[in-house]
Amino acid sequence: MSKVLEMRNICKSFYGVKVLKNIPLELESGEVLALLGENGAGKSTLIKILNGDYQMDTGKILIDGQEVDFKEPSDSEKHGIKMIYQELHYAADLSVAENLFIGHLAKGSGPIGKHLIDWKKVNQDAKKALGLLNVDIDPKAMMRDLSVIERQIVEIIKAIYGNAKILVMDEPTAALTPPEVEMLFKIVNDLKAKGVAIIYISHRLEEVFHIAQRVMILRDGNHVATKNIEEVNSDSLVELMVGREIEERIIELSDNKATAPALEVSGLNKFGSFKDINFKLYEGEIVSIFGLLGSGQISLTRSIFGAERADRGSIKVYGHERKIRFAQDGKNAGIGFVPIDRKVRGLVLDMSVLKNLTLSNWNNLLTLGFFKNKKERAHSQKWIDALGIRMAGGIDTAVKFLSGGNQQKVVLARWLEANVKVLILNEPTWGVDVGARSDIYDQLDMLAKQGLAILVVSSDIHEVLAISHRILTIYDGQLTAEFSHKEASQDLLLNAAAGRLA
């Protein structure tokens, strides 16, 4: 095997802060190198240097032993370096075929024809490309009309079609279901066999063991280690990433004695999203809804809160039937909601911690429409202390400067300040560092002990098993099973969530 890529002593600073310090990276053709590290470790900066989006301060990049200098992404593309980004970039109002070949649509022939796009050929090529993944997507369909998963597949095909020599995949499976992940792995293996070298970034360690030959770990901009996959196990990997040993979380759930049902959902339906949902959530209980992404759980919880509207069904909070059509209705019914993407839907990033914290409940803080400054500060400080929210610069710091875990706690605190009785959390630890996760789990446990009813949506099976009193599984928009904490196991959950019930 030959060394297809070598990065030597890559250094990069932003505004005087070193974010990459002498990073080495070697990649051989036909291998998968997993790149691991917590958020902010420097993974994405390194990748952006490789594809020419950022320029390194010092260091060298060699492709096939030749030094190269990438000024922009199109330069690296010419050398066969292709990227699959975490967030999708596509043109919603253009066809699948055009999205696949944006920037280099096939031209016709002849003196005039060679300047004009040959749409027939574009569509044929697209069909061929889509054949790579064996998917049934119409090349002429608009991206807008595709599901999220279909759009992701188009993105992946866009990257691997053509002369990919080095493929960088940044969390490619985040939105895929297990059979789709398997499919993706098959493709990765195909590409490997063809000699394509792959850099694979993922938070899911089990995937790394499944697919990678070597792992490289970054921490705080430093290269910690590069190892063969046989030399490591998941504990040692986490330790390398976090820099200290993470103690195994000992699950010690307070046994909730069935109290009053805090939330009662019956006969809830939404066409195309979920159907006939019935469950109860009791005071002081943490219930998780586990399912593969796209099974309707997000839409379900959004409908309970009022971020979208169910077609029919009833929602009772502490025995009172509530009509929920808008988020305000959810809040007034005593329901809080922590969304998945807190930077987009959770926080006003430029506003202070204080103002974000009180955003959902001004009632007690106002006289005649004006804020009582002291009271507002006291209220916020109470939650900052209670949840251990850490920030440099105090309560007036813009919330964008906080770490992912602390930002998540701000959203959490907002709903506690709003005095909700039921709290819904969507993927509570996405984008939260491994080290900060157990902290959030502890907080949830504490809140439940104080009587809050908590509904968690998560696709992380370890998380679900670690924090829930009860677990509901969802498949294709329907609840398929219910497990108590004691009954639940990985096998049972996965089967139930895949619609395979014993």
Partner: protein, 332 residues
Amino acid sequence: MIKFLKKTGLQDVIALIVILVGIIVIMSLSSNLFLSPRNITNLLIDSTTVGIIAVFSTMLMIGGGLDLSVASTAALCGVIIGVFQASLGIFPAVLIALAAGAIVGLVNGILVTYVGINPLITTLGMFSIARGLAFVFSNGLTIPVFDLSGEHQAAYDRFTILSEGSFLGLPYPVIAMLLLFALGVTVLHLSSYGRAMYAIGGNELASKMAALPVKRYRVTAYVLSGISAAIAAIFLTSRLYAADPRAAPGVELTVITAVILGGTSLAGGKGNLVGTFLGVMILSALLNGLRLQSTSTDLQNIIQGLVLLAAVGFEQVRTGNVNLDIRKMFSK
């Protein structure tokens, strides 16, 4: 106060004050009339139309909105005063004008929030409609607004005093503008309405998910913008003794220039009224000074446009958000 200024961006405020002082110095050097009490009074009174509207446009723009229809609305409201004063009396006419301003704002607000049309296009449409209605109601003529019959002298005197009266040497329109700015600062920084504007402009989606009644706040902002145009129209009509469907030409551009000059972001979420006030004063001093040198109004248009570009461009250069790789743009 210092703390408050720090919060609103002390540097920006100082920069604006420096520009204002610079313009005042240059203008007073080139014309000794500039600093005369009479001219200062004129300058301040002239600034009130833009100033009054700018208070509410600032709030609207911080909330992520935009209103290009304010000048047309002001003309329409003026014409409404002119049309209804004869039959109903001057003060009912003023109330109807205020209501009309509110209705125009309400329609804008509903179209933007509930129907979902882009604010630029909505208010550009209303810009045309309101101006057209002003011409329709007035038949394209200037309507005199004073006591033709001689029977309601007292009422009209009270209306005229709105623009002619003064307190401690400050004309009433100027006092009204200053009060509105003071009220605006208080509302923007200390009230739930102001907080909501910053939140909605900063991240509309997150505000929605935090259960803020986003649409209601936004409609309110448009209604207030419409009312501010009506208030400006009342003072303008009082001052001119007449309602002109052509009134306040290009004022929407001056208002936006002043607001952006003052540091409010077009994208929403950022901005303050101290900056807007200084922006209004800078533009007023500039235009007044040019007028004293009998520069044609055409040159004023040019300069106003350049000031707008300079203000935004300077901000871009200062924050380093520029793209100097010009050669690449022309390369193959």
